[in-house]
Symmetry: none
Subunit: 212 residues, 4 copies
DNA sequence: CATGAATGAGGTTTCATTCAT
DNA sequence: TATGAATGAAACCTCATTCAT
């Protein structure tokens, strides 16, 4: 799959009835399960439907095609991550820069960890599903939240440019990905979190000094 | 494809006649071409063979299966990256810490950029080809080179732990990936390179201070 | 094909809708047709599907692979043979030994003859399909039926051991195979049948005398 | 493979030079080895050549195609069987009928047993190689030897018809095949041999009485 | 709405055979 | 003669998707 357009991946219908909602939920859960137990290349629509306890036909009632299914799961996950980080940003307003960074980084690491399984599963399908495009959206969203948070920093007055925020985000994402794919232990994650805080703090400090 | 083992991807036969060396080369070049022009999911063994100007049968004489083919290309690329960074490490011995970091980061960014096309193409096949395992190997190799370089730093006496180096590497990789997948402009890359140097320098400084 | 295990040859799905029952029947009929008209080595799954008027995909919905398809046909045939011989055994209870033998032999020869075409076709695929294992099962079944019949013989009190029955069965099978593969004429078959009765009668008499 | 003609299976050239003879021998031995260790369906010409220590090209210098190779091995084996039984016939001239039968049967069972491995291997390829046709030839040869032997029987004056001999042979073959494919133990084979003698003796006696 | 049987294009892989070296 | 690289037809099998029931 090489198309990168985001359109045409939307679920086919917005579930309005209770039953539909349940079904959609079941299907998306099943998708993750199949991804985890069978791997990306043995994820078939029939298998997902089976796992969800519905027929393939039903699956296609809610998702126009396989990619849209994976896309939806991916999107859900990224939304959750975004929401969590946004909340952390809210919460950190008016604090000192380093504290802000700490909260954001910890929030990010923790959400990813919480659903390490989904994260790992999604890395495998990302290329087939327009991963980069979705990630771009997420980055935009987080950049905005972080940027606006930084403006309230109690100790620094200059906000870094978009660029620095993006770099920080992608560095964080890379570090997490590496750890998740390696199947790091909880202890490792704790250490990683700590170091990642350090990394982001020192970079942001440097970047802002430079930007000034 | 979900297996992650690295073994059993080795090329099938070592070319003994001159003819076959040419063939192998043609096939691996063709693989990259097809990856670039058709995308990961339209890469078929038949297409690769066709592009290489040989028959499928010939392809299978040198690679036991499709994955081994992609694996070989992936491996080549990572080897090239590793070699380049290792050279940079050699070159930076006995210099000051920040200069070391600069050289390493710039070397890394530059190699990836040079073959931006291949890099992007490989991101797409990585999950199908044991990407994480291969990356792990590469990280080990680079960690060693960087660690030993750092010991010779003229201005700092404490070497950071493996952990910090790994984190730096994965952060760098994440940043590059993001930029490459976004199709960043040369100007962007220049800026990125600069910032990534900053990021790594400030993190390493902080990490070593902390470790002390 | 060299595996000989019998398991894992079972049809893949049990038809629940009326439509599929028809399909399954059509496929197994088509298999025999193709076997007869094209020969064992030109039997391809695509050809069978075509002959059955369905698509390959449909074939694979009911049989997990080519072997299972042939296996099923083989099994059907052997079941038919077994049933026929068992009936003959029932029918011959309480008669004299030589009459018993006659009925069993004639029943066997007649069933095989009736479907001489299938028999010959199956000889060709037997090795690829776990033939020996299936035959073993059949032998066990027939041995039991014959053994229990012999116990009721009106003129002889001693039952021969399993061994003698097995030998008789394999000798019969060998004779039939030879005649079928040679494409013997009906006249030949009549003579053969007569002689085979003689052979079995005299052997069984001798074996029972010896066993005594 | 469905052709049944015997022509066109002959080895391509009659080995005249010493080296060729050695090579041909090596290839045919290798064929059996591959048959035994890999099974009929994983017997490839390349594999056989490899095992024989020559290149595929060389193999094709001596055999025009794969079938001719298998055919030759089959033929060798049957020739050996025929020779052995013919010798037994020679040896049994002028003896009593039952003794004659004993010698023939024992000779047959023993040769087959001696190379049980080859026998089993050949059952697997027989259908692909014109087995029935070859067997027919063998039967003709043996029928002749046995028929002429029987004429010298010291105690019976009437020779049975061809038919009875053929039946006896095919019964014997069937019994042996069954035992060999089942992987019977040496003890089983001894018992089988004994019973097979009995079977043939009693049948021949009966057949001759009837023919009279 | 749900079902699941049917579709069939298309992908991977094998292997007998040839022929330039 | 021997070699073994190259060939390519052809086989098996999968799975996203549709549509009659």
């Amino acid at each position: 799959m090489s198309t990168n357009t985001i359109t045409a991946f939307e679920p086919r219908k917005t579930p309005v009835q209770a039953r539909s909602t349940v079904t959609v939920k079941a299907i998306s859960e099943a998708t993750i399960q199949v991804l985890l137990t069978h791997g990306a290349d043995r994820l078939t629509t029939t298998r997902v439907a089976g796992r969800a306890g519905v027929s393939v036909g039903t699956l296609y009632q809610y998702y126009p095609n396989k990619r849209s299914l994976l896309f939806a799961v991916f999107e859900d996950h990224l939304n959750k991550v975004s929401r969590t980080v946004e909340l952390a940003c809210e919460d950190a307003r008016d604090k000192a820069l380093s504290e802000m960074i700490r909260q954001v980084v910890e929030a990010y690491v923790d959400v990813k960890m919480q659903r390490a399984d989904i994260s790992v599963a999604l890395y495998k399908v990302a290329p087939d599903v327009g991963g980069p495009a979705l990630v771009k959206q997420t980055v935009q969203r987080l950049r905005k939240a972080i940027g606006s948070m930084l403006l309230t920093a109690s100790d620094v007055k200059l906000s870094p440019d978009k660029f620095a925020i993006d770099l920080m985000l992608s560095a964080m994402a890379g570090a997490m990905r590496s750890a998740l794919e390696a199947g790091a232990s909880p202890a490792m994650f704790r250490k990683m979190r700590e170091h990642l805080v350090l990394l982001c703090q020192s970079y942001m400090a440097a970047a802002m000094a430079k930007g000034a």
